[in-house]
């Protein structure tokens, strides 16, 4: 989607930055670029891999044995539901042309991929490939939120939440920022819209904020905080974390939509941020608690990746290092703060890691895009300061919208089907009660 945004940007005269960013657009119009297509096909597989099984295992290892299957089930069912809805109308809302209402949403012209032939192109790759690549983002975002209410949510509520949240939060926000809507170039925030390369706002801020609200509405797990049991399998968690790291190459470097230096630099800064944040978290944990844990270092990794996501296509290696330091450091302190100071049982720390990380990275993007700091430069007319305000505006709008809509959705679901399982079921565990299975019979 950057390509279109950038096309607009060119029209808006931001040529300098743009050209360096995507040589692709230099090609003669309408020609398929097989190399870019190959990389985005690959990236699509990588990002799906992030959710199935990556995120599912990462989350599954953090809960009690008696709930591990329910977490895997949530992620899996969400992936399926999101995929079908993406075809039915979500893609159209996010990336269609909403005509008069385009600032707000993309309309329904592309529902069921209407009019998208096998040869249709998006920029210089097949639109089907772009459709699939974007779908994988729509899959992982609601799955991230699951971390807020594991071990007590009703399965049916998860499905309803997924469907409504994608429709009223994810798809619109994606349209605003990536689909030519209100927050992109020439929108409410002026000629230079929000710069969110791979989803710092679209994915992490929306998921993080919604998770926080959901945790508050649904309430704490029984025995929180004192009697909660430790992660039942750090092994599973590390496995999932590693898959998230690998898949994130597709997430960020794939977001270049090209197979070139832009993708290469995005992959580089992404990786550097992940590594730096991991070491940062490890060091802080060591200093503060006297030992470095596996669960800790991989949490730092996720924080670093979430933080660099919006910046990945705009900054250089230095930006990657700083995103890692900031993301790892800030999230390290945010996590216990939310759980203990605020007493909110955002069970797997979705807001503290993804929300906080995504916001941090979105702001850092404005700073480290500066060539002086090794960045790829701002759009013409934009400065660090001006862009900072735009980024801030984007965060606020997305956060407020996510919070409000999530609140409404959950209230509706509470009435319609109920949010929580009974206390007995919660103690007995969701696996056997809701899904009729046990995680392990060794």
């Amino acid at each position: 989607m950057r390509t279109t945004r950038l096309a607009t940007a060119i029209a808006a005269g931001a040529a300098a930055f743009v050209l360096s960013a995507t040589p692709a657009v230099a090609q003669e119009a309408g020609a398929l670029n097989g190399a870019n297509t190959a990389w985005i096909l690959t990236s699509t597989a990588l990002v799906l891999f992030m959710t199935l099984p990556g995120l599912a295992l990462f989350y599954g290892g953090l809960v009690h044995t008696r709930n591990v299957l329910s977490v895997l089930m949530h992620c899996f069912a969400i992936a399926c539901l999101a995929s079908v809805l993406w075809l039915v109308f979500l893609y159209s809302i996010a990336f269609g042309d909403g005509g008069g209402a385009n600032a707000l949403f993309g309309g329904f012209d592309k529902a069921f991929l209407a009019g998208v032939s096998v040869d249709a192109l998006w920029g210089d790759i097949p639109e089907t490939v772009f459709f699939m690549f974007q779908m994988t983002f729509a899959i992982i975002t609601p799955a991230l939120i699951v971390g807020a209410f594991v071990e007590r949510i009703r399965f049916l509520a998860v499905l309803w939440f997924c469907a409504l949240w994608l429709t009223f939060v994810y798809a619109p926000v994606a349209h605003w920022i990536w689909g030519g809507g209100a927050l992109s170039d020439g929108g409410w925030l002026g000629g230079n819209g929000v710069r969110d390369f791979a989803g710092g706002i679209v994915v992490h801020v929306t998921a993080g904020v919604s998770a926080l609200v959901a945790a508050m509405v649904i309430g704490q797990r029984q025995g929180f905080p004192g009697e909660i049991t430790p992660p039942h399998s750090p092994v599973l968690t590390m496995m999932g974390a590693a898959m998230l790291w690998v898949g994130w190459f597709g997430f960020n470097a794939g977001s270049a939509l090209t197979s070139d230096g832009n993708a290469g630099m995005a992959m580089t800064v992404t990786h550097i941020s992940a590594a730096t944040a991991s070491l940062t978290w490890m060091a802080l944990e060591w200093l503060r608690y006297g030992r470095a844990s596996l669960v800790g270092i991989v949490t730092g990794m996720v924080a670093g990746l979430a933080t660099v996501t919006p910046a990945s296509g705009f900054v250089g290696p230095l930006g990657g290092l700083v995103c890692g330091l900031a993301g790892g450091g800030i999230c390290f302190f945010a996590t216990p703060w939310i759980k203990h100071r605020l007493g909110i049982d955002d069970s797997l720390d979705v807001f503290a890691v993804h929300g906080v990380g995504g916001m941090t990275g979105t702001l850092l993007t404005a700073v480290f895009a500066a060539p002086a700091l090794g960045g790829l430069g701002h759009a013409a007319g934009a400065t660090v300061g001006s862009q900072l305000l735009v980024q801030l505006g984007g965060i606020v709008v997305a956060a407020v919208w996510s919070a409000l809509v999530t609140l409404v959705i959950l209230k509706l679901i509470a009435v319609a089907v109920g949010l929580r399982v009974s206390p007995e079921v919660e103690i007995e565990g969701l696996d056997i009660t809701t899904h009729g299975e046990r995680g392990y019979s060794l």
């Binding site: 905080p225 004192g226 430790p230 669960v295 800790g296 720390d349």
Partner: protein, 112 residues
């Protein structure tokens, strides 16, 4: 005969096994248990949150011995598994009315 039930530190199992073998006791049964006593469980910290673990992993061993051997067995289990630190564990002695070796049908002391 007596049935000795001892709850010990997992890392002590091998030493206890050797101690009993040297006494000529040639059989035992071990299983993984969790427990607490003076040693009141502990706290683990994940992502800055404290998790209370009430039960500490231990190994429970069950050894059936003849009356004569009982006392020395208790003693050697104690010697082998003691570290002097809290959590060392406990030994319980129960009366054992009968023992049968399934393979041969032998019963009583010679079944041990």
């Amino acid at each position: 005969m007596k049935l000795l039930i001892a709850v010990i530190k997992p890392s002590k199992l091998d030493e206890v096994r050797e101690a009993l073998t040297s006494l000529g006791i040639e059989g035992m049964t071990a299983s993984e248990v969790k427990g607490y006593g003076r040693q009141k469980g502990h706290k683990e910290i994940y992502r800055g949150s404290e998790y209370t673990v009430h039960f500490v992993p231990k190994i429970k061993i069950e050894v059936a011995v003849s009356d004569e051997l009982a006392e020395r067995a208790v003693q050697s289990i104690q010697d082998a598994s003691r570290t002097g630190q809290i959590g060392d564990g406990k030994i319980f002695v129960l009366p054992l009315e009968e023992a049968v070796r399934i393979r041969t049908g032998e019963s009583g002391a010679e079944a041990l």
